[in-house]
């Protein structure tokens, strides 16, 4: 299935892009992060991140559907 992935901050720099459409067999955000770590060598561990699907915080074990937009959220630093 195809997913839309957006990258921010440190992960945007490490991926070398701010978004992409990806053909994947990853069933959950957790699987997807594993797949993307292999590709981009992200330095943040999954435990340091949150994940959003379709612009809302999500569980790591949610079943992804074709067309979902996924964003991994590094430790925040607003203010």
């Amino acid at each position: 299935m195809q997913l839309k992935i957006q990258y921010y901050a440190l992960m945007r720099e490490q991926a070398g892009r701010s978004e992409e459409t990806l053909e994947t067999s990853s069933a959950t955000p957790a699987d997807l992060y594993g797949e993307l770590c292999t590709r981009y060598r992200f330095t943040l561990t999954r435990e340091q991140l949150k994940v959003a699907v379709n612009s809302e915080f999500s569980d790591w074990s949610r079943r992804l559907a074709a067309g979902d937009a996924v964003v991994f959220i590094p430790p925040v630093a607003g203010g």
């Binding site: 957006q6 921010y8 901050a9 440190l10 945007r12 330095t43 943040l44 561990t45 435990e47 340091q48 949150k50 959003a52 612009s55 809302e56 915080f57 964003v71 959220i73 590094p74 430790p75 925040v76 630093a77 607003g78 203010g79």
Partner: protein, 165 residues
């Protein structure tokens, strides 16, 4: 309602303050977060703020709504900058109007604390040394054993992770 929003340019605090006016309000409290020239032993020369705005405005709205539920205040508003900021530029503004001052101080504190910990905003510091780094991301990436600390960051009132306050 837009009680949390982003600004691409300098925050207009006079306009923001006007949005809090209420005939029943006896005063208002505001907080301004500024870019300071040092963090964790490094000389900071400027900052870049980046946000996942679609989710950030939702989470920001939820924080302000929480504050309005918890504290008997009239109005509350938070505005956060994105983009490149220089020293002493205002990174964030929070304002709360209320019949009495006590709850306005409490609500203002609550909003800025929650925004710092919950809203998907990131800042990259640029240092005089020429180096740069994403706050809360680079160090823990080098030392993943600190993960636990970050999850409970809000309990460390004196933690030096932020570039101001």
């Amino acid at each position: 309602m837009m009680r949390f929003r982003f600004a691409q340019t300098a925050i207009d605090t006079a306009q923001a303050r006007r949005e809090l006016l209420d005939l029943g309000a006896g005063g208002y409290v505001s907080f301004e977060g500024w870019v300071r020239d040092h963090n964790e032993g490094q000389e900071v020369t400027r900052l870049e703020y980046e946000a996942f705005q679609e989710l950030a405005v939702k989470e920001g709205e939820r924080i302000v709504a929480d504050a309005l539920r918890r504290f008997p205040v009239k109005h509350a508003l938070c505005i956060h900058r994105v983009g490149s900021l220089g020293l002493n530029d205002m990174a964030v503004w929070v304002g709360v109007s209320s019949a009495h001052r006590g709850e306005a101080f409490d609500a203002c504190r609550f909003i800025i604390d929650e925004v710092k910990h919950r809203v998907p905003i990131w800042k990259k510091e640029h240092y005089r040394s020429g180096d740069s780094g994403w706050v809360n991301c680079e160090r823990c990436a080098a030392a993943p054993s600190h993960t636990h600390e970050h999850e409970h960051e809000h309990e460390h009132r004196d933690e030096p992770a932020a570039s101001h306050t």
